[in-house]
Symmetry: C2
Subunit: 161 residues, 2 copies
């Protein structure tokens, strides 16, 4: 079989290429790693989160979160405080500087993503979104028994939570 015809290969290569287009923006132009980008994204939306909520809404493991958060704190883009109610947990909050940086980066990243997606015919774009959503459900279904570590994003329903 030719590798170009193997669907998992095609999916991985295309997803990497798409991701690379966006990393080129928030990475090179704003100095953010993928994990830092995701944490800022979450915090810009939520304002503040404790680590339990964060673990549920991100597909990063605890080491990645800890390290990305350290760097974001060094850059003064977020703050991290020990939670009083349970001193094992942390409360993460985005700073004004973090909001500013994220919003500027998001404008450019979103524009780049749209530029690519809008180069697709609308029907193809709809097919892609439908297919991705369905694949996500299929993976969740097939891997149900195991721990969902980074398998997918939280969703309503009987699975997860």
């Amino acid at each position: 079989m030719r590798i170009e015809a193997f669907f998992p290969y095609r999916l991985a290569v295309v997803a990497e290429a798409f991701s690379r287009q966006l990393v080129a923006v928030y990475g090179r132009e704003y100095g953010l790693s993928r994990e830092e980008w995701r944490l800022l994204f979450l915090l810009e939306d939520a304002g503040s989160l404790d680590s339990l909520q964060l673990a549920q809404r991100t597909s990063l493991d605890k080491v990645q979160v800890s390290r990305a958060a350290s760097r974001l704190e060094e850059k003064a883009l977020i703050t991290r405080t020990v939670l009083g109610s349970d001193r094992r947990l942390r409360n993460y909050a985005i700073t004004e500087a973090g909001r500013d940086l994220f919003r500027r980066a998001f404008d450019r990243v979103g524009a780049r993503a749209d530029e690519i997606l809008e180069a697709m015919p609308a029907r193809d774009r709809a097919a892609l979104e439908r297919g991705v959503a369905a694949l996500d459900r299929a993976i969740a279904r097939v891997t149900e028994p195991e721990t969902g570590h980074g398998t997918a994003f939280p969703r309503p329903g009987p699975i997860e939570d």
Copy 2:
């Protein structure tokens, strides 16, 4: 905006989760890295390739190829010889042991991939394939001027080659 609604995030997370399911097979059970897996895949199909052909058909850069090939050679799964016609190039060939290992791994990896894909309704699966193909074309179109390093797979037409 909620990160779960940001399409590039959804695509990246789903693609990683899918990939992880397959790496769990060829990685843990057959000791192959992603790059080694791809090289073996190509060579099992072609039998033997020189480095120029290889660079065209893989989405790996030269460093990744060099290192993966070294390991495969150590494991006696491929052979590497300097090409007489141009001593900068190498000829890669798969060994019998390499074929055997790859075929066994491919059976299991393909089965795992099918298990997931067949958990999708046929219409959704068709949508996914259509969408992925279209996204690949869109990325190639938008990034046309730059070097296509790992951007996509080779295709007929005016671009690349």
